[in-house]
Symmetry: C2
DNA sequence: AATAAAAATGCAAACGTTTTCATTTTAAGG
DNA sequence: CCTTAAAATGAAAACGTTTGCATTTTTATT
């Protein structure tokens, strides 16, 4: 029986391949990492040997030298929600293009959980990490900084962010939808937003909405500003309750999820959208374009953000460190659909 | 300057902690992996040293001995879709409970891509992997088998599956919704399903539907069996086209996504659901319960599947290998909501 | 208090690669 | 065909842990 160092574990190692190809392990390593430095005939032999043996390299072992693991982390508030799924998919696919893989975790909108997650990712030696938003605990940020791990903040654009960011201008998104309603003549407007604590995206959007109210000399009181979780059912329930006493002509929702709930609530109550009530969302998730009526909203290019984030992170650890353009803004698009009309 | 072997890289290593705590690296290692074998005072010293230094262990280095990396893979057809997001989130969270992390990738319903993905995951030394469905290319399955990597098939229950599986009886799901329509008196039924090639879930559901047709002596012809991708917009478009010439009283959809599209199509055409058309889906995704009308469907416990899958995989590499109950069936629930009515 | 057994710790050899440096082979130039 | 430079390969030392074995310390027993 030939010399098969690792065979008892079931898998051949680089030395097995080397032996079979009659070269040194070093050359096999080069074959995989830097193919053009090995002569063609040798290359062929190694390739054949590797195939015959079904060799799969152990990047982990390699990473002990490399300092790079080929794995990049992504932390999102939640996976189980249309909001981020497009982003996640795009990020993962683009990483695959770069021969990297994604390690993902969700903190469920509890920023404190991020510290444990970051630690766990760090223990697995990630080469970089993408974090949603700008609000983060100092502890994990320090862990990352101390280790010089490339970090990007995604989703929200902030020209003053200390770490590189890739995202859309959420203030502007909020401004756009609110202004749209005012332009249609609405003056009695209800605003339904998620909790803005530890959530810069929602906070910025709300600021944008408020800026329009202010410019119109209107007040946004407690009575017409409601808080609602990221859940269609909750949004629907809440809306059905407030619509009994509330005579608004329009609703601004902090995101499309809430909008869906509001629209369903109207349908349940027999209200006509947009004749009886105009509704706007932010995000343009799957379904928003096709529901009836179509939801007027702002399209945030989640896919593009995911791709840019992946590219940026990979570039950060391939080149030196910080990316040329530290703050990358992606364009939004206002989508005027059937859920809004003149008052 | 103290001896800091790895410090130039920015991060302290186990020997730095050992030096500071005045013990050997071996003891520090034990402190982390098997705390109860180290005496309390020593433990305290190590803990303090590790904290002072901000030490984060390098599991990768440890995995060179361990054979376990603490990382588990999940391959799904798609991330960007309500179908699997609940599953993914549950799987990831449960793994975190077990101090593992998830490596995830999507093949976009192209089974051939699974081979590259599996290879990539294997190179990262996953401890186990969960695959959606039973239809898989032989190549990746062999790679996994050769290496003795625990594998579970999730989503679909199949009592004869050669690998462990955790899922629901999709045949029964199809049977349930079709039978429901027949029980309501429907005889002219359109069936809209995703492509069943390389998709055992859809295939089994369709078989279930067909079994009802057969038992009712009805035929399911080309004319009333349509294929449609997993996309609300496509489903809506298709439905709007076929509803012009088609006088069915009910539609069976292969999944809730398609159902949503069908319902929106009806609303766009001014048809009343369920009076003019009854609609059933399968899955019970986010939104199905709250849309108007609520969608009659079958609830597949995605969360439970995710948790069970995580637990099973972890158990598989903690105990010996194969789980006690190789085939785990999770219960479904038929959800009768507003989208169906007597003809 | 002495001895045996058990518990805690240390030493040093792995784990499977990559990489530096040295050596051999090939190609180029005259 | 010989010399020199360049290209290809090999030998061996890392990388940061874990772990088997040996050694020391503690606890229990008489």
């Amino acid at each position: 029986m030939a010399k098969r160092s690792r065979s008892f574990k079931g898998a051949p190692g680089i030395v097995d391949v080397a032996a079979r190809a009659e070269v040194s392990p070093a050359t096999v390593s080069r074959f995989f990492n830097n193919p053009d430095v090995v002569k063609t005939p040798t290359r062929k032999r190694i390739e054949k040997a590797a195939n015959d043996l079904g060799y799969i390299r152990d990047r982990m072992a390699g990473s002990m030298h490399n300092r790079f693991s080929g794995t990049i982390g992504l932390i999102v508030p939640t996976i189980d929600n249309a909001i981020f799924s497009e982003l996640i998919e795009a990020f993962a696919s683009q990483l695959l293009e770069h021969d990297r893989t994604m390690l993902i975790a969700a903190h469920g909108y509890e920023l404190k959980r991020e510290i444990g997650i970051v630690r766990s990712l760090l223990e697995r030696r990630i080469d970089g990490i993408a974090l949603v938003g700008q609000d983060h605990d100092a502890v994990p940020m320090n862990m990352l900084a101390q280790r010089n791990i490339p970090v990007v903040s995604i989703w929200n654009f902030d020209a003053n962010s200390s770490i590189p960011c890739i995202g859309a201008d959420n203030f502007e998104a909020g401004r756009l939808v609110a202004q749209h309603l005012f332009d249609l003549g609405h003056r009695n407007i209800t605003v339904i937003f998620p909790d803005t604590n530890h959530n810069d995206r929602a906070r910025d959007r709300l600021s944008g909405v408020k800026s329009v109210f202010k410019s119109q000399q209107l007040s946004l009181s407690h009575k017409n500003l409601m808080t609602c979780p990221y859940d269609i059912g909750e949004a629907k329930k809440l809306t059905m309750k407030i619509l009994q006493s509330n005579r608004s002509t329009a609703v601004v929702c902090g995101n499309d999820i809430i909008s869906h709930g509001v629209i369903f609530a109207c349908q349940a109550l027999g209200l006509n959208v947009p004749q009886d009530l105009s509704i706007v969302g932010i995000g343009d998730f799957a379904g928003s374009a096709h529901m009836e009526p179509g939801l007027t909203t702002v399209r945030l290019p989640a896919k593009r953000i995911g791709i840019l984030a992946a590219d940026t992170l990979v570039a950060m650890n391939e080149t030196g460190i910080p990316p040329k353009n530290k703050h990358q803004e992606v364009e939004m698009r206002f989508m005027h659909r059937g859920s809004t009309a003149v008052v």
